[in-house]
């Protein structure tokens, strides 16, 4: 197991290095001179040259890249063109907002999708099943920003139960955080819940048709045992992957939702960095997202190995 983890960590490191290269090269292709943009109206040739050489932009590309990676390894991702603050600090301070929104949304989605998906598979063809299908169809076809606006109008406007937007850190004021995270999390989570409901339903249906479920029934086990021990244990293995993919994509930040709810997460940061051509910040944000993605993947692989004994032989 330790070897497995070490190997995966090494692989993740290589992937991350690849990401730095891609990000680095990609930004070379983007039109627009960042230093010019950063200076804006305060432009004067001397400051311009000074800034360029401070950012290392006057060096050849391979040198620029090597020094970028070298510094990144020490945790230094450069400074923001816009604010002059260290990128690492800027990116990391957005992490709690994004993490707490993504995790809350996925937890909410699971709380909805798990019972919905399992029950509609167990009672496939029933009224309940049809209702669940309408729900998930609704969830995947309605745009999330529209749902977000409706949520704000109803729960913040008409009912006044939740603040319409804004962010409070969980560590500072848990109750304030909860009331602020509710609307964006539900908005994002509903879409995820729809996807998961469908997936869980079809996965459970597939397992229900397996021979070993008939074996379990032949043994005269109570329905609850058949469902939990034999059906769900197997049906939920592939669900882990889908949940992880959903979580990973939310960790990249849901730009529309973060903008709509004034949620200061990584998605919002990426958006602003693109607008301002703040390359160091953009690079940092992408690296962070890639790293989170790799961490989630590693956790999924470990979870898989725990859930499916056939994988342990590796």
């Amino acid at each position: 197991m330790t070897r497995f983890i070490l190997r995966r960590l090494l692989q993740s490191g290589i992937v991350l290095l690849g990401v730095t290269l891609v990000v680095f090269l990609l930004l070379q292709l983007v039109p627009g001179d960042p230093v010019r943009v950063a200076l804006g109206t305060r432009f004067d040739p001397e400051t311009y040259e000074a800034l360029r050489s401070r950012a290392g932009l006057d060096q050849p590309l391979p040198v620029q890249y090597a020094s970028y990676v070298g510094q990144a390894l020490t945790g230094d991702l450069g400074v923001s063109f816009r604010s002059g603050r260290p990128v690492t600090a800027i990116v990391l301070e957005r992490l709690p907002a994004t993490l707490s929104l993504a995790i809350t949304a996925v937890v909410f989605a699971l709380l909805v999708a798990f019972p919905l998906g399992v029950l509609s598979a167990l009672r496939s063809g029933s009224v309940f099943d049809h209702a669940a299908r309408v729900f998930s169809q609704f969830g995947v076809s309605v745009p999330d920003f529209w749902m977000g606006i409706m949520g704000i109008l109803l729960f913040a406007g008409v009912l006044g139960w939740f603040p319409p937007s804004g962010y409070v850190a969980l560590t500072e004021d848990p109750v304030g955080w909860a009331s602020h995270v509710f609307l964006p999390a539900v908005t994002v989570g509903l879409v995820t819940a729809s996807i998961l409901t469908r997936f869980i339903r079809s996965s459970v249906l597939e397992v229900l048709a397996e021979d070993y479920v008939r074996t379990a029934e032949a043994k005269g086990l109570p329905t609850r045992v058949v469902v939990v021990r034999h059906v769900l244990r197997n049906a939920l293995i592939p669900v882990v992957t889908v949940v992880a993919v959903q979580l990973a994509s939310l960790l990249g930040g849901v730009i529309v939702i973060e903008v709509l709810f004034a949620w200061p997460g990584v998605g919002r940061l990426t958006y602003d960095a693109v607008q301002a051509r703040d390359y160091p910040v953009l690079q940092g944000a992408i690296l962070l997202v890639a790293a989170l993605f790799l961490v989630v993947n590693l956790l999924v692989d470990l979870l898989y190995a725990r859930l499916d004994p056939r994988i342990r032989v590796r």
């Binding site: 021979d211 074996t215 029934e217 043994k219 005269g220 109570p222 244990r233 004994p309 056939r310």
Partner: protein, 329 residues
Amino acid sequence: MTDEAVLSVADLTVTIGTRRGAARAVAGVDWSVRAGETLALVGESGSGKSMSVLAATGLAPRAARVTGDVRLLGTDLAALSAARRRRMRGRHVGFVFQDPMTSLNPVLTVGRQIGEASEVHLGLTRRAARARAIEMLELVGIPSAADRVDAYPHQLSGGMRQRAVIAMALVCEPDLLIADEPTTALDVTTQAQIVELVADLQRRLGTAVVWISHDLGVVAGLADTVAVMYGGRIVEQGEVDAVFAEPAHPYTAALLAARPDPDANVTELVTIPGTPPSPLELPEGCAFWPRCSVRGDSRCERELPPLVPVSAGHQVRTFYPRQPTGEDR
């Protein structure tokens, strides 16, 4: 050993609702099996062998409508609640299905899968159930059972897996073992070992066995009575020796003729020309009519032949029973 049947079915009919209409998988089937006895159900694929035992024990698919009288140890199963029927099945009937790879749960150890029925039906603790599973693995001839008990199905060979399934079926010492083509998915050597194992366990435990197979060679050596099924009906039944020595139904005779000769090393199977009827469109008269080599007159096509006695305990469903030839074919 009593004279009373462990399991008996009378006029068992199974109709399955499908998108293309009602499929009558089983029609008016009667059979019974006594303690220590083996009943073989034979017939081509799709003749209703599996469905008849699944329906009898309450395992038919949801879309199936089951009618008829089923008695397990004298108890009318239809009169029981679903929960009591389930408990009765788990406690008194053990099942071995065709493919041991797919009939075992891949994410649970074999020990857990063997023991769980004894927890539910015999009230064993989890620890006692594990000990019982080791005992059962020893009983079915799995070496180093104390280690294998914690193995997952994929870690065992095909033969070992089927032994584990047999252990699972017998863990509550059931009165009846239903084996649905238990050797079809195995290689020839392993097949023989599994047949031998079941015969041996049956002798030691006095279990009644319903053995579904299309290997007539195995059936001849193992069964006491045989029921030949075609198109959802029994077309011939009786003592296995009498039926095989003097098959009265053209279908039985054809099946026996199609049996591969174990001495001649022929892999090519002699088959009966034509295909079995679809349960969606069963003919009005004799279901075997389109393929029958005897095919007396138009009555065969129009009328369903009744099941008539040939000799004591030997019955056949044809208008033209083959005459005993006296020679052993």
